[in-house]
């Protein structure tokens, strides 16, 4: 009974989008066949699937490289962003010293910095991780800082009445209240991270899905390009799904607790 209801709920939640995606793929397949488009212009989903199967070993290798860059950069960026947010929230000195600089750096398009990282860190995975970290740090920093600073004044007053120290206010009130904001920013950052890794690979790489896209574009191997694109999409989808899932598991109180 319970299981049945669960399946029903899942159906209700995911069925519409699933049906839509399948319909879209069918439409794509049909129009390619109908207009007999050449493969190098637009391959059909069937051809793309065939390409993925054919090159599965190579594609798996390049996917794992990009995934590694994405996750390492994301983790580094998230941790740095969170730590900086706490520092800036706790100290006026840090706030005045770093915040204006961070705003300036944030307004520079990080893509424009990618070539510099290649010059400084070479062609390996390191410059990609650095760009990814740089891209994902700001959403985390800004959102978490917001959560840390804008705590209900009454909670702060309550802590004052009980003579809590600044550190106690930080750990008992500010950090827990900022966690929903932190997770929201992680959802933004993980998607940015995939973009960051690809940008790094575009600028200079000899492995990774970005590299696959570059190479296959010069060879007019559009099917392979789409294969890499599909894998990138799948990767981003599962990564952000993982972040959402961990939020649900780690912050069960957040769901309906907005006005407690």
């Amino acid at each position: 009974m319970n299981l049945k209801r669960k399946i029903g709920l899942i159906k209700e939640k995911y069925l519409p989008s699933l049906v839509f995606v399948i319909a879209l793929l069918l439409l794509w397949e049909l129009s390619v066949r109908l207009f007999s488009l050449p493969e190098y212009i637009l391959p059909s989903p069937f051809m793309i699937a065939r390409t993925i199967l054919k090159f599965r070993k190579i594609l798996l290798f390049h996917t794992s490289i990009t995934l590694f860059e994405t996750l390492s950069g994301f983790l580094a960026g998230a941790m740095l962003g969170f730590a900086l947010a706490v520092l800036i929230c706790m100290s006026n000195f840090f706030y005045r010293t770093f915040y204006p600089l961070l705003i300036i750096i944030q307004s520079i398009p990080k893509i424009a910095l990618a070539p510099f990282f290649v010059i400084w860190l070479g062609f390996g995975v390191l410059p990609k991780i650095a760009i990814t970290a740089l891209v994902s740090i700001f959403p985390v920093l800004v959102n978490t800082l917001h959560g840390l600073v804008f705590v209900k004044q009454e909670l702060i007053d309550l802590m004052k009445v009980f003579h809590a120290s600044k550190i106690q206010v930080l750990f008992k009130i500010r950090i827990p209240s900022s966690l929903p904001f932190f997770f929201t920013s992680l959802k933004i950052s993980i998607v940015f991270s995939v973009v960051g890794a690809i940008i790094g690979e575009f600028v200079g790489a000899n492995e990774g899905l970005g590299y696959v896209i570059m190479i296959s574009s010069t060879n007019l191997n559009t099917s392979l390009m789409f294969s890499a694109l599909f894998l990138l999409g799948a990767m981003g989808f599962f990564c952000s799904g993982f972040v959402s899932l961990s939020e649900k598991l780690l912050l069960p109180w957040h769901k309906e607790a907005k006005d407690a």
């Binding site: 007053d157 009445v161 009980f162 809590a164 008992k172 109180w253 309906e256 407690a260």
Partner: protein
């Protein structure tokens, strides 16, 4: 001996914002007897909350003097003389009822006698809800948790800042009765801020009526209605008379 638990002498407070001086409180003097129930009544924005903050020592600076049990407010604060309940229950949504009530105990070791969280849960009528999370509670139950949390250090003074404001009428009058029952059991001094005149009179031994900004004492009214009070109290002609008089003062 009924001594003075709170004594306010010519309290004044100004805020400056955008280079404008705003006088919020002016020349407020009153005293509160130990173990009594006193309400501060005034219109919104007359500085009632500011006055409470001054009394419990979290708002500085101000002019005038506050004596708590004969001592300066900051010194009194260090000995945990205060428990406070706000308009919003301000519970921590990631802690269950029990842990919310125990929060103040985690903050520092202090020499005051403490209630056990279990006893408080019984006192405010939340048995069986110890492990429930705040978002699963009704507004009235959240208010009960907030009261229990405020009482954990057995405070000499319980400050309540429009604590029942966000409740519906029925829940509010139920909690009024509950608050009186709790107060009669622990006999602490209560200072209750509200803009609801009949609530103030129903609960209190005395009400302090404040004028609109700058807030100053308009009149202090003794409420000599019999205790224990119950639903019938609100129908007494004396009750209605005091409410009418107080209403005149505010308008």
């Amino acid at each position: 001996m009924p001594e003075k638990m709170i004594e306010a002498v010519r309290i004044g407070k100004e805020f400056t914002s955008n280079f404008k001086r705003l006088e919020v409180l002016k020349d407020i003097s009153f005293s509160v007897k130990k173990g009594s129930f006193t309400s501060i009544v005034g219109m919104s924005g007359c500085g009632k909350t500011t006055l409470l903050k001054i009394i419990c020592g979290i708002s500085n600076p101000y002019s005038g003097q506050i004596l708590i049990d004969g001592e300066g407010a900051s010194k009194a604060g260090r000995n945990h003389y205060f428990g406070i309940v706000f308009q919003e229950p301000t519970l921590l949504p990631w802690r269950n009822v029990y842990n919310n009530i125990e929060l103040p105990l985690e903050l520092n070791s202090c020499p005051r006698t403490k209630f056990k969280a279990d006893d408080l849960i019984k006192l405010v009528g939340l048995e069986g809800f110890e492990n429930v999370m705040p978002h699963e509670l009704s507004a009235g139950m959240k208010a009960r948790v907030a009261i229990a949390r405020a009482l954990i250090f057995h405070p000499s003074i319980l400050l309540m800042d429009e604590a029942f404001n966000n409740l519906d009428e029925i829940t509010r009058s139920n909690l009024n009765l509950e608050l009186l029952r709790i107060w009669e059991e622990i006999r602490t001094t209560v200072l209750f801020v509200t803009h609801n005149i009949s609530e103030a009179i129903f609960l209190s031994d005395r009400i302090i009526v404040l004028t609109p900004r700058p807030g100053t004492v308009r009149k202090i009214i003794d409420v000599n209605l019999p205790r224990p009070r119950n639903k019938q109290t609100r129908r007494l002609p004396e009750f209605i008379e005091i409410v009418e008089n107080a209403r005149e003062l505010l308008t």
